[in-house]
């Protein structure tokens, strides 16, 4: 086939693919502005923000109950925060360990990576059985939390591994030759330089944990996280308030992404001149 035909053909195909990716979300966003009387489908009876107000309990009580997102949102945020801290620390420690060659690094690598591979429903089931067996109560801050870390720690580990691969070891040696202990060297030299990577690892961990659902299902106990509250409403009839919620939660994610971008940019901008030195030397 001639590339002169293939190129535009593939361009059109890619555009169609993007439409396939975004189509449902666009439809969902449109339908979130359905009026009170309209259902979760076309046509739009009348454009309104009714379902957004419904979400925040700002409408008069209707027969459709408010989405139970209040407490679960707080729980999910706290859980995501805990997960982020622990998995970033673990990921950084492990990646640091992988800078030394040691026997058995292969199996350990796969053991860690397995955490992101193994289906959530499986470890979730296992954890539920284990806690039953050991007589431990299931809770979002306990049994669910440890599974979230199992899931996000491999991602943090891979991000940090990539960062350390590009890291110039001689700055650490320089620090030690100045009489600075390894611990202080890590704190004053290594950490500041790898910080952008740590930020990425944190972003990864946070979003994965915040949206985690299959691992949480069996291990959360009585107090639900946000995705589980949402999932609970699927079994009954859905209303456009879910769509409104979807739009808001997407906006929230983007805010997070923008904050990350701004942090990264500020960090690299203020250090831009200084960092070019590291790249030049490397």
């Amino acid at each position: 086939m001639n590339t002169r035909i293939l190129r535009p053909a593939l361009a059109v195909y890619t555009a169609a693919f993007l439409l396939f990716l975004y189509g449902p979300l666009i439809v969902l966003a449109i339908l979130s502005f359905q009026s009170q009387t309209g259902g979760p489908q076309f046509p739009i009876q009348e454009w309104s923000t009714y379902w957004y107000r419904h979400l925040f309990g700002l409408t008069e009580t209707s027969r459709i109950s408010q989405l139970p997102v209040g407490d679960s949102l707080v729980r999910s945020l706290v859980l995501a925060f805990m997960t982020t801290v622990v998995s970033t620390v673990l990921g950084t420690m492990s990646a640091e360990a992988f800078r030394t060659r040691f026997k058995g690094s292969g199996p350990v690598f796969y053991l860690i990576i397995l955490g992101m591979m193994v289906p959530g429903v499986l470890v979730g089931l296992g954890m539920a059985l284990l806690s039953n067996f050991a007589g431990i109560d299931r809770a979002w801050w306990g049994t669910a939390f440890v599974l979230h870390v199992v899931y996000t720690y491999p991602f943090a580990f891979l991000v940090m591994l990539a960062i350390f691969n590009r890291f110039d070891r001689s700055v650490e040696e320089a620090s030690m030759s100045l009489g600075v202990s390894p611990a202080q060297t890590f704190r004053r030299v290594t950490f500041p330089i790898i910080f952008p990577g740590v930020l990425s690892a944190m972003l990864f961990s946070f979003t994965l944990s915040y949206d985690e659902f299959s691992r949480t299902l069996f291990t959360v106990g009585r107090e639900l996280t946000l995705p589980l509250s949402i999932y609970g409403t699927f079994s009954v009839e859905i209303y456009p308030n879910i769509f409104a919620f979807g739009v808001l939660t997407t906006l929230f994610s983007f805010t997070l992404l923008v904050i990350y971008g701004v942090l990264m940019k500020r960090f690299t901008a203020s250090r831009a001149g200084r960092f070019s030195g590291q790249e030049e030397a490397a």
């Binding site: 009489g179 200084r274 960092f275």
Partner: protein, 356 residues
């Protein structure tokens, strides 16, 4: 005094250092000359403690070094790539060691600032303290790296090809400054380089590292005029080596029999060494009386400014080099492809026992 005895370092089957003995006296500029891959960086890393030897002993001022972690050795290290802290300003880089070192740390304050400024003055970077390290030139980075090391007053300073990343102009200037700075501080510098001119210029003592050992360590002049062995002679890049077998008072070489001054056992292998600048060139039938000589074919000349290097091919394929100083020319006009007699005074030739 830094004293290394029997130091060995292996990487798998490859031997980088093989029972090396070496002394760096106090208050001396020592340059260490070695080809790339000769283990010279390994030697520095062993002294600094970034790596440990497989065998041997390292002593500094009567105290055992090996086995100590690098941050407790009190040895300065200047890296080829400078290894400045990219996230810190120039003065923060220089202050880093004093502020954060394990023992005798200096808290932030006027004392610290004074010492940092003094170090910056020393390397000629007065007023550059607030710059980021990405905002300064290569030569200035080198100075920051030096100031950062010197301000902590190490017992000895190791410099790993410190001029390698600088351009030629800057390199010459830094050479002078490095020597001047060292003389003011009275601390020993051990400067590793692959360039024989740099080694000879810089070192009070020049050591040649070859085959995992120190082939020779002596002052520049003695080393240059009287290399002790073929390894040293070869590294100076100024000596032609002609190998052969001893037969009475002559050396039977591929370019013919050449007289030797020492008596060596018949049949033993030996190398005759003649410096590039001590060979004269003439027509084969016009060799001056009292000169030893052999013939070789002229290949090409290389013009280097004040000197000109001429390349000859001996009958056995050996490359022979002859230097001509343009201010004092000794050579006739040469025609490429023609055969000439290369002659030298018997006193100028050195004889080394053993094979090449």
């Amino acid at each position: 005094m830094l004293k290394l005895s029997g130091v060995t370092r292996r990487y798998g089957d490859a031997v980088a250092l093989d029972g090396l003995d070496f002394i760096v006296p106090d208050d001396t500029y020592v340059s260490l000359l070695g080809a790339s891959g000769s283990g010279k960086t390994t030697l520095l890393r062993l002294i600094a403690g970034f790596e440990e030897p497989d065998a041997g002993e390292l002593m500094l001022g009567g105290e055992r070094l090996d086995g100590k972690p690098p941050h407790r050795r009190d040895i300065g290290f200047v890296f080829q790539n400078f290894a400045l802290f990219p996230h810190l300003s120039v003065e923060e880089n220089v202050a880093f060691g004093l502020r954060h070192r394990e023992s005798k740390a200096v808290p932030a304050g006027s004392d610290l600032n004074d010492r940092v400024n003094a170090a910056l003055d020393l390397v000629g970077l007065t007023g550059f303290g607030h710059r980021g390290v990405g905002e300064i030139s290569g030569g200035q980075k080198q100075r920051v790296a030096l100031a950062r090391t010197l301000v902590t007053e190490p017992r000895i300073v190791l410099l790993d090809e410190p001029l390698g990343a600088l351009d030629a102009n800057l390199r010459a200037r830094m050479c002078d400054e490095l020597r001047a700075i060292r003389e003011r501080l009275k601390v020993s510098f051990l400067h590793v380089t692959g360039s024989e001119t740099e080694a000879l210029t810089m070192g009070d003592t020049v050591a040649v590292l070859a085959n995992g050992r120190i082939a020779q360590a002596q002052d520049s002049t003695s080393l240059f005029t009287q290399p002790a062995n073929t390894a040293a002679a070869r590294h100076l890049n100024a000596w032609n080596l002609i190998g052969g077998r001893v037969k009475g008072r002559t050396l039977d070489t591929a370019v013919g029999a050449l007289p030797i001054s020492q008596s060596l056992p018949d049949g033993s292998e030996a190398q005759l060494a003649v410096r590039f600048d001590q060979i004269g060139v003439c027509e084969p039938d016009q060799v001056p009386a009292g000169q030893d000589h052999f013939t070789a074919r002229y290949l090409a000349g290389e013009f280097n400014g004040p000197t000109e290097l001429s390349f000859f091919r001996a009958d056995n394929g050996d490359l022979i080099q002859v230097v001509n100083h343009l201010s004092n020319p000794r050579l006739p006009d040469l025609t490429e492809g023609r055969t000439y007699a290369l002659h030298f005074s018997p006193d100028a030739a050195l004889l080394f026992e053993g094979a090449a």
